[in-house]
């Protein structure tokens, strides 16, 4: 039994089972809605964890890329009549190009300086979405057409839940594969020792740029889906606080942990909802819970528990 769970994709099977069984416990559309939001966040956080947890870099402006996807999917179909799928691809391409363009100068920087540079990027994007009112609707936001794929319109929580469950499973699978490949090892190696990685032949700048671009594409695609799902987009999607929230999900769930990304996203998406009954005190309770997690599970939930489990077996 344990051998089964320890297999490479044991975790994937468990998540698939949970995703398949969850709808049996859903009583209303709100439960579906929460699950869909968790899945969207989990995919973004997976991409971000590849950058932060595995490659040891940081991005405090990731919501900016989310915004690019969201606004591409809002603007191109409404203003120019593009099919949603094409708009989504255009957004992802745009995010990839921007990420690649800024990554080279940005990744010369390290630590706090890198954090500041990525923060600046996010802030600029958020301001652009707010100020280009003729295109984006400004601070009031704009409506987004429903997602239709090859003439089939995706509407209703159940269909969205199915789509996101498939995307989440695929992302978990692909990320697990990636980190255990020559590409993924090069990323982890440059995190562990840049000098050692370089001497072993790893072109470190190229790898940092590649993973930044990949995580930006993850974010942009999920931004597009969020926009279509909610049916409305405001500049808040690209807000600095949203970027911080995503980084917090990575840290709380567990740096360099694929399943930690899922746990972090689930916890930080569901917790504010669960705390809503503490009228007026929910932010305080939320902060206190985060502090407790960081004090008692400093490496993040999944890596700490996994280490305890390993120890318990010996």
């Amino acid at each position: 039994m344990i051998a089964f769970f320890r297999r490479r994709h044991g975790g994937l099977v468990i998540v698939a089972l949970i995703l398949a069984l969850l709808p049996l416990f859903f009583q209303n559309a709100y439960h579906y809605d929460l699950a869909i939001r968790i899945a969207i966040n989990a995919v973004i956080v997976l991409g971000l964890n590849l950058l932060i947890g595995f490659a040891g870099q940081i991005s405090l402006g990731h919501a900016g890329f989310l915004g690019i996807g969201a606004y591409a999917s809002a603007i191109l179909p409404s203003h120019y009549g593009w099919p949603p799928l094409l708009a989504m691809m255009a957004g992802a391409t745009c995010a990839a190009l921007l990420a690649a363009l800024v990554a080279r100068p940005i990744f010369r920087l390290k630590g706090h300086y890198l954090a500041m540079a990525t923060l600046g990027l996010g802030v600029i994007l958020a301001i652009a979405f707010k100020n280009e009112a003729s295109l984006t609707g400004g601070p009031d936001g704009m409506a987004v057409v429903p997602l239709s794929l090859f003439g089939y319109e995706l509407s209703g929580e159940k269909k969205w839940y199915a789509l996101m469950a498939v995307l989440l499973l695929f992302s978990l699978w692909a990320s697990t594969n990636l980190i255990d490949s020559p590409f993924g090892r090069a990323l982890r190696a440059l995190h562990g020792s840049e000098v050692a990685a370089q001497v072993a032949g790893v072109h470190i700048v190229r790898y940092k740029v590649a993973i930044f671009v990949l995580s930006a594409v993850f974010a942009s695609l999920m931004g597009s889906l969020t926009a279509h799902y909610v049916g409305f987009v405001t500049p808040n999607v690209a807000d600095f606080l949203h970027s911080i929230e995503l980084v917090t999900m990575v840290v709380v769930g567990g740096m360099a942990s694929v399943y930690g990304s899922l746990v972090g996203a689930a916890l930080l998406t569901a917790l504010p909802q669960a705390l809503a009954r503490f009228e007026g005190w929910e932010t305080v309770a939320f902060g206190a819970i985060l502090m407790l997690f960081m004090i008692f599970l400093p490496r993040g939930i999944v890596p700490t528990l996994a280490a305890r489990f390993e120890k318990g077996k010996e």
Partner: protein
């Protein structure tokens, strides 16, 4: 023996400090070549220059006649250079075996998309690589650490892990920066045997070492550095008899 590596009038200056000054030497293919000298003589700086971590202020480095100075480390790795570090550069976020697998980076398909989709040919190569890396570890005497996490290994084993990682690249030219530093006499003896074994398998070895017994018994030729300058160069017997070397090591002014 033809020269595999030639260094010609190599210098580097950090601000006002001339860390390496006008150093020339050549390493014959297949040799064990030792670089010795007091602390601060510029030995590691010389390694950093040759392996591309520093760019020389002046001078030339040639690998089989091709000028390579100023090339970045990842390009030099492609030309068959590998090295270890005096202050360990182990990726502690990975297992021992994965560290060794990183050494084989350039011999692998590094495509991102294929990796994410678990391309069958890539998976097959990964399984072979695991086997190869395990063999490299066994070769370096690390068979007990095949399953170990790097951050749970003792110092002596990490020194060998660096060598195993360098060997996984299948280099032509291997630089070892104080492989025996901090090891006890028995471990030092084992590392010396390992270095000899590596050389007999056709890898040219350039080695920085403070353990004189080890250097004298291993090295075909020895370069002595002092204050960034070449003090002497020659066979073990020649270097041992050189009055400048004796003066530098004993601190006397001859």
């Amino acid at each position: 023996m033809a020269a595999l590596l030639e260094v010609d009038a190599l210098s580097i200056q950090f601000g006002g400090v001339k860390a390496v000054q006008d150093v020339s030497f050549s390493v014959p293919a297949g040799a064990i070549y030792a670089v010795i000298g007091p602390n601060g003589a510029g030995k590691t700086t010389l390694f950093n220059l040759i392996t591309g971590l520093y760019t020389p202020t002046s001078g030339e480095i040639r690998l089989e006649g091709q000028a390579i100075q100023g090339k970045p480390p990842h390009e030099l790795a492609r030309l068959g250079m590998a090295r270890t570090f005096q202050n360990l550069q182990i990726c502690l976020n990975m297992t021992a075996l994965e560290n060794v697998m990183v050494g084989a980076h350039l011999r692998l398909d590094r495509n991102l998309i294929k990796a994410a989709l678990r391309w069958p040919a890539l998976s097959r190569r990964e399984r072979e690589l695991r086997q190869e890396a395990a063999e490299c570890m066994a070769y370096a005497g690390l068979e007990d650490f095949l399953e170990a996490r790097a951050d749970a290994m003792p110092y002596g084993a990490l020194k060998r892990l660096e060598i195993a990682r360098a060997l996984a690249a299948k280099p032509r030219l291997l630089f070892l920066d104080e492989p025996a530093a901090g090891l006890n006499p028995k471990e030092t003896q084992e590392v010396a045997e390992l270095v000899r074994k590596i050389a007999t398998h056709g890898v040219t070895v350039v080695l920085i070492e403070h353990d004189m017994k080890m250097v004298m018994s291993l090295a075909d030729r020895i370069l002595v550095l002092d204050y960034g300058k070449k003090l002497a160069e020659g066979s073990a017997a020649e270097v041992r008899a050189n009055p400048d070397v004796i003066a530098a090591y004993l601190g006397a002014h001859a």
